[in-house]
């Protein structure tokens, strides 16, 4: 009975106030398989997994382990049942070593209270050899790479006796190379008899690693299908419920004069470290220049310096020939620079503000939205109505707080605000982060439209696929320097190599 499910979720229903997060969901996991859970944000993947990990109690339905119903009740119950979870955001203690983190809470002891570090290290080494997960037990967590930290999380789960591993969007934080290494690890775990639930919204990954795929949409299971024979467009249709354009459809660029020029820019971050080093770049009217790079390689500080939120320590920023180095954000905006910030909750929107107020965040200063310091609410809300329609923002009226919109609609609001100012230069930082397939398509289309209208667009993204499909030229940033320039015909591997400080080749 090789096909008898190891784990079965039967008729799981979970309600939150006003929302049906899971609607009688059935999923089963076979022994030694990789089962992918695919769905857009808000489809109910995380809720389902939190139920399986004992964080939530389902309102209806039951969980069967080896055919026996189990009540997990808590994460402790889940761990005892052999379920381990690797969260998207790691739960590690940065100042402790790898071994300490792995044995935490179940540590071997000497004389009741003392940590038996030698035994801990030995056990971690054994474990890491057995599964081919290479880590240095004595390394401190904050000194190792994100990919290694993820291995530590997996080892932690294995150390606690996990037979079923839940990986929640595990590749979101990894470089393409690291992702490939993770897939190797997953395959090795599979041959060791572990069963894996792989949560993702990236279609290509799911097709590469999964044996079977369950697609969730609005809390319901659309279908469970074998990965063999499944296609990306097919899965996208199942996820979104309609046909989706996965590739960005765009014409060849016709770049003209340079609108944004960055010359020998050096920027220091809050800790006083030089995070942008002697960067020069140029974005011309009618082109999209993509900046690829692993997170925290100076992208944020580079953007901050361009948009006037951080004064560079040397170098110049010019917009259409005008020197804006060290200008205030207000002056930069007034000079025709639009900015879609990387974190829309922290920087892009004032969540408790209404849509009208958010859309007026720059425009409140100017007529007709205000005169002599008095706001003209009627003009403001008329403008809002026009923009909401133009940008197809759904789920809100002008007086709805921005916080109650979905991520995709929130991003549309940010885009509407920035584009309505008719900027010459648009800085788009992670413009599709956390968005679902439909919203990504919308944002991408808008960016290409802006390019074709003769604007200069600087796209900064951690998603290589996005960089490759949108950009007309690609710059790779590594440790604050431009590590290479590529054409969009470059492969992910070539970019990935430059992103991790491999050879810096000049391809363009």
């Amino acid at each position: 009975m090789a096909d008898a499910p190891l784990l079965e979720l039967r008729g799981i229903t979970k309600r939150f106030p006003g929302v049906l997060a899971n609607d009688s969901v059935d999923v089963d996991l076979r022994h030694g398989e990789v089962h992918a859970l695919l769905g857009e944000n808000g489809a109910g993947k995380s809720t389902l997994m939190n139920i399986l990990y004992g964080l939530y109690t389902p309102d209806e339905g039951q969980i069967l382990l080896n055919g026996e119903p189990v009540e997990l009740g808590s994460t402790k119950g889940a761990i005892e049942a052999g379920i381990g979870m690797v969260h998207q955001h790691f739960m590690l203690i940065p100042v402790m070593t790898v071994a300490e983190n792995i044995v935490l809470a179940t540590e071997p002891r000497r004389r009741v209270v003392l940590l038996d570090y030698d035994t801990a290290r030995k056990r971690v080494r054994e474990l890491s050899e057995r599964y081919g997960l290479i880590v240095d037990p004595d390394a401190r967590i904050d000194r190792i790479t994100v990919g290694q930290q993820q291995r530590v999380e997996i080892l932690k789960a294995l150390y606690r006796g996990a037979e079923i591993l839940i990986l929640d969007e595990p590749t979101a934080v990894l470089t393409p190379q690291e992702a490939q290494e993770l897939f190797e690890i997953i395959r090795a775990l599979k041959t060791q008899g572990k069963s894996i639930i792989f949560i993702s919204h990236k279609l290509n990954e799911v097709l590469e690693i999964a044996d079977r795929i369950t697609v969730l949409r609005r809390g319901k299971v659309v279908d469970t299908i074998p990965a063999e024979g499944a296609t990306e467009p097919g899965l996208a249709r199942m996820m979104v419920g309609r046909d989706v354009l996965l590739r960005v459809d765009k014409k060849a660029a016709h770049p003209e004069r340079p609108l944004l020029q960055v010359e020998n820019l050096t920027v220091v971050d809050d800790r006083g470290l030089e995070t942008v080093r002697d960067v020069s770049l140029e974005v011309r009217a009618g082109e999209i220049v993509g900046i690829a790079g692993v997170d925290a390689n100076g992208q944020s500080e580079l953007i901050d310096a361009i948009v006037g939120l951080r004064a560079p320590s040397s170098g110049r920023v010019l917009v259409d020939g005008k020197d804006l180095t060290g200008s205030s954000a207000k002056d930069v905006i007034a000079s025709g620079v639009g900015h879609v910030p990387e974190d829309r909750h922290r920087r892009g929107l004032v969540l408790p503000f209404t849509l009208t107020e958010n859309l007026a965040l720059h425009a409140y200063r100017t007529s007709p939205n205000s005169r002599r310091g008095l706001l003209n609410l009627r003009a403001m809300s008329e403008r809002t109505r026009r923009l909401l329609e133009e940008f197809d923002v759904r789920g809100g009226t002008p007086s709805t707080p921005a916080g109650s919109l979905s991520g995709g609609n929130q991003q549309k609001v940010v885009l509407a605000r920035e584009l309505d100012a008719d900027p010459q230069v648009l800085i788009a930082a992670q413009p599709t982060r956390g968005l679902d397939v439909g919203a990504i398509e919308f944002v991408h289309r808008r960016l290409v439209e802006q390019r074709d209208a003769g604007r200069a667009i600087l796209l900064v993204s951690l998603e290589l696929e996005e960089i490759l499909s949108l950009s007309d030229r690609i710059l790779v940033i590594y440790e604050g320097r431009i590590a290479g320039e590529f054409l969009p015909t470059a492969t992910e591997e070539e970019l990935g190599l430059a992103m991790t400080g491999g050879s810096s080749q000049e391809a363009a």
Partner: protein, 416 residues
């Protein structure tokens, strides 16, 4: 093997569900919070009175009778005695028909309640305006005092000034002084990041002791005729606010209450209808997003504190010009108007209407429990003063607890 840490992990509150869900969830929460906002505030008040009532019970008195007596002491019962009366039209010799008796005991009490309500509104606004910018201005007391010192100083000088101009000059200068005083805290926050709670508390102490010196024996504002008494001169008659109800000699009600109400309107307009208010609220909700939109966070910190300080200082001015007329170090040391105003703003949830009503509640409570107004046969006034403090404390505590949030939390726990 110990499982203690594991079980602790299990006790962690569950993470919010995926991205899409909080969006709908927050919408509900917001709708719920507006509903709970009013209900919660009322509930907070009722609960505070209920628990204080238990204290009354312990002292061997009947809480319902005590509350009734306090209510009568506030003068708010005046509105219930409708009849056929005549009232003098303020600032004239004419009389007109009026549904209430303007000369009854209740009328006297109500004047006292409203006299106290006015500065509470203004110090409450001092907290509220800064709060909208994300600043917790504990310095209302100091700003109030600075306003009253300026009022004493200018009110006892310029003896021959035209009355209206004199009053106007005092109000403007007091407001500016309060703005400057609070602005110090805003400036320190904006430039070196000094926390405004600490700096405003320190500024309170500075204001208290500077005032004690100014008004005390040998101080520059001490009276010129009796060097052994530490008290200021009385402000000149022309600088006193006109009393429109009751007798000036018996602490009648001055037009200060209208100034306070006008400031509630000014506050509402500033916050909701001006670019200043827009910026202040943007900074208060999300300083980082405001900064990215080109709004100067530092400038708004200074401005918001300045406006807040101006409101609170006006409170000091209308008290001095409305009924105190002179001040001594003792008045300065024992004044708590700024702190009660803080409670009023918290209870009123920083809305103009809420602050007005909450200030009336606390003004009434102070009047109703004072030994002049409360019937000593029902409840000893020395206990009653403590009762007022207990109720204030409970209200602030419950507001801090966020009663609505607590109810929601309990419901969730039961559901989980």
């Amino acid at each position: 093997m110990s499982d203690e840490l594991l079980s602790e992990e299990a006790e962690l509150p569950p993470e919010p569900p995926d991205q899409g869900i909080p969006s709908v969830g927050t919408a509900l929460l917001q709708r719920a919070s507006r509903f709970y906002g009013v209900i919660g505030t009322l509930g907070t008040t009722v609960l505070a009175f209920f628990m204080a009532g238990l204290v009354v019970l312990v002292t061997g008195h009947n809480p319902l009778r005590v509350y009734r007596a306090i209510f009568d002491g506030t003068g708010l019962n005046w509105f219930f005695h409708v009849g056929d009366y005549s009232a003098r039209i303020p600032f004239s010799t004419h009389h007109m028909w009026f549904p209430w008796d303007t000369a009854s005991v209740a009328a006297d009490n109500l004047q006292q309640t409203l006299l106290l309500t006015a500065p509470l509104i203004l110090t409450g606004l001092g907290l509220a305006f800064a709060f909208r910018c994300g600043l917790f201005n504990i310095g209302g007391q100091g700003q109030y005092l600075v306003g009253s010192y300026i009022s004493i100083w200018i009110g006892t000088s310029f003896v021959h000034m035209q009355p209206f101009a004199h009053v106007l000059l005092i109000l403007i200068c007091s407001a500016l002084a309060g703005a400057f005083w609070a602005g110090i805290a805003g400036f320190l926050k904006a430039t070196v990041g000094a926390h405004e709670v600490i700096s405003t508390i320190m500024l309170n102490w500075i204001a208290i002791w500077v005032g004690s010196y100014l008004l005390g024996q040998g101080g520059p504002l001490q009276n010129s005729t009796q060097p052994e008494i530490p008290i200021s001169n009385s402000v000149v008659d022309g600088a006193k606010l006109p009393v429109f109800w009751g007798l000036k000699l018996l602490q009648g009600l001055s037009i200060g209450i209208f100034i306070a109400i006008a400031m509630l309107v000014v506050y509402w307009i500033l916050i909701n209808r001006t670019t200043l208010g827009f910026e202040v609220r943007a900074v208060g909700f999300n300083a980082e997003a405001a900064r990215a939109s080109g709004i100067s966070v530092a400038r708004n910190y200074v401005l918001a504190m300045g406006v807040a300080g101006a409101f609170a200082a006006l409170g000091g001015a209308i008290d001095v010009l409305g009924w105190e007329y002179q001040l001594g170090p003792n008045d300065v040391q024992f004044s708590e108007v700024g702190f009660i105003g803080l409670a009023a703003a918290l209870l009123g949830r920083n809305s103009a209407v809420g602050i007005g009503l909450a200030a009336l509640l606390f003004g009434g409570l102070l009047t109703g429990t004072s030994d002049r107004q409360l019937n000593p046969n029902i409840f000893p006034p020395e206990l009653a003063g403590n009762l007022a403090t207990i109720i204030q404390g409970l209200v602030v505590l419950f507001v801090g607890l966020n009663l609505a949030g607590l109810v929601y939390w309990f419901k969730r726990r039961r559901a989980a």
